[in-house]
Subunit: 401 residues, 2 copies
């Protein structure tokens, strides 16, 4: 019994510590007395915990507040640059890396193109080397690194944390964190890239304080991170949000999943580029024809052409947007979210299609949920997933995971 009770006390202590730390984060400059009042802890208990947080270096004293009769109270704040977290968002052809500190400040970010033929071992090594080089550059010791979040395009088993399937990366049934030998036990958490974006939007982006929202990422595939009841919703086994396979046109092309006309085959970046190449091949009157290397047309070239008034490029984007609008309408009827945020490659052409997506959803979804919905592009752009991944260890520290 005594051990048990000691165990409970340890748990309670950590729990209270996380709550106080979270309040200090939210209120930026708060006194011990106010912390005690907010939590119902005794002033002594609040004092013991804040002393421990000061000693560990998570927080520091920052001036004094206004007196409410007695001595002017000392104000507490998260201590910048005291603890750190690294977020990595990766796909087959790139790796976005981000370093933040305990306050969420971004200290470093880097987008790297990756050779497409990296095997699993090479990827593990690349991640390790990236982390180690950042730690060296910013003089971060292992005990100051709260953790590493890794965002990937794939399904993560919500119980075991294993990567069930990441078709683009060619991974299946992989326990990624167990392969890191050079990170000295720093906690590593793998997350689906759309959910990583949702975590980011919920913590620092467009969805702060919103309980029910959906973040849709568009790149080679289309996926969503869903929040319900104010928390990431993963379903029973971690694959919730795989909206890329909502069928939007039974007569569309065959998808890797075996169906025809999944929204992923009709509205992904790959589809847009493919359709642009078709335009060039067909020789339609289009400034896309001026491109030299049609086999390597990029989404940026398509959007630039559309922005310069190329009707064919505009049509290709509009068609993709229409199918995306159909899929979003289904989601809106099913989930009645307060907000839908669309990110990753989408931010490159949101200005060209967002309004038409809104009007498609307004027309196709039921009027009631559609009228209570806000559809926006991610203001965090392409770094949302890397930032979300970096936020994961912070959420653990603040008892918010």
């Amino acid at each position: 019994m005594r051990q048990n009770s000691a165990g409970n006390n340890k748990f309670l202590k950590e729990f209270n510590q996380a709550i106080l730390l979270d309040l200090i984060r939210i209120h930026k400059g708060i006194s011990k007395a106010d912390l005690a009042k907010m939590t119902g802890l005794s002033p002594t208990a609040a004092g013991v915990i804040t002393a421990s947080l000061l000693e560990k270096g998570y927080i520091h004293e920052t001036g004094t507040g206004e007196s409410k009769g007695g001595r002017r109270p000392v104000l507490l704040e998260l201590k910048p640059h005291s603890f750190f977290s690294i977020g990595i968002d990766m796909d087959v052809d790139y790796m976005n890396v981000l370093l933040i500190d305990i306050t969420g400040e971004i200290l470093f970010e880097k987008a790297m193109n990756m050779p497409q033929n990296d095997d699993f071992e090479k990827t593990v090594t690349r991640i390790e080397e990236t982390v180690i080089s950042i730690m060296k550059e910013f003089k971060i010791s292992h005990d100051k690194l709260l953790g590493i979040g890794i965002s990937i395009p794939g399904i993560i088993d919500s119980i075991s944390g294993k990567v069930v399937l990441a078709p683009n990366l060619g991974w299946s049934d992989v326990d990624l964190p167990s392969h890191f030998n050079r990170l000295h036990g720093v906690p590593v958490k793998v997350e689906n890239e759309a959910m990583a974006s949702a975590i980011c939007e919920g913590w620092v982006g467009a969805c702060q304080g919103i309980d029910n929202f959906v973040c849709i990422n568009i790149r080679s595939g289309i996926g969503a991170g869903i929040y319900t009841h104010g928390k990431p919703y993963r379903g029973v086994a971690g694959s919730a949000g795989e909206i890329g396979h909502i069928v939007v046109d039974e007569n569309g092309p065959k998808c890797g999943c075996g169906n025809y006309g999944c929204v992923e085959t009709m509205a992904s970046t790959g589809r847009i580029v493919e359709q642009a190449i078709k335009v060039v091949r067909q020789g339609s009157a289009s400034c896309l024809n001026l491109l030299e290397d049609i086999d390597h047309i990029t989404i940026d070239q398509v959007t630039e052409a559309a922005r310069n008034g190329d009707e064919e490029a505009g049509r290709v984007l509009a068609e993709a947007a229409r199918y995306l609008g159909i899929a979003i309408s289904s989601l809106v009827n099913t989930l009645n979210p307060e907000k839908v945020v669309i990110g990753k490659d989408f931010v490159k052409y949101a200005d060209l299609v967002l309004e038409s997506i809104k009007s498609i959803v307004a027309r196709r979804a039921l009027q009631y949920p559609a009228s209570r919905l806000d559809i926006v592009q991610s203001s965090l752009g392409e770094k949302a997933s890397a930032l979300g991944a970096a936020i994961i260890p912070l959420k653990v520290l603040f008892g918010r995971s």
Copy 2:
């Protein structure tokens, strides 16, 4: 401060009372000592609360348990027939009424056909009279009636509790409970009928102990009640689960919502009957042709014909099932639920189509979520919504709402 603290104490007391009552419900025959141990309350505090619950009549003592050293402990249990709840499930043409007691035992149930031309006032009167006659018959005083749950096919605003829209009933923007003048303030809660079914399946049906599931009801429309994180999921404004308007065939008939080929237009009971009538009109070789009054073919006649080997009737049901399977596949990819329960009219022909729906979903949904999914018919049949509605006041009492 004193008032505030008194208010908090009252809240805490009610909160602790609900927790103890819920433990007594779950454990059926539990001692005060065990309640104290489970909750962390002191034996004295647990004793005060159970004494109050005994005095109010929610629970009673039922024999004695095994001694663990000292006196044999008195066991506590919910007191049958002490408090009651009434559930009403209504649509334009019927009203299902159900009386349960605090233990969840069904004491009375009645399915009534309703004249389709009842206006709102008549409906209110009919509900009041039904409630009053049940209270009279079972000698239930107002203070013993925990509440009334009313399940309707419509969207309920999750903040105000108002009926936003119930097209079948012809209601919009209605605050139903405020219209009851003869119920002496008994709490009335209005709920969407599919969510009422989900509440029922979660409390006493196929989804007990399951956090993430979807209950789909098929009748004149198609709707779903969704649970996420172990709780009813309503979205930002109460309309989550309106899956009837997932488009499953762009070339299908026009739906009331303005789109074409919504699953509601392809797989509802109305559609099945309509297609059966078409078969008769076309004079296909079908025993459906033997029916005398083809304008009043019922779903029961269609399913009976199919069960007797009528190929045309079977084809009509199979087609509806195929479209339902397509919509469920989208839901499975989006929500990764542990269970999908299909109810209401569906139970009349589940034996004929459930297996084919399962194989459609296995083929069309992503393999990972599909392989972790169980699709079943509601074992509670057509009464799930009425029972779920009756359970709502119980959940409030047990602090589970």
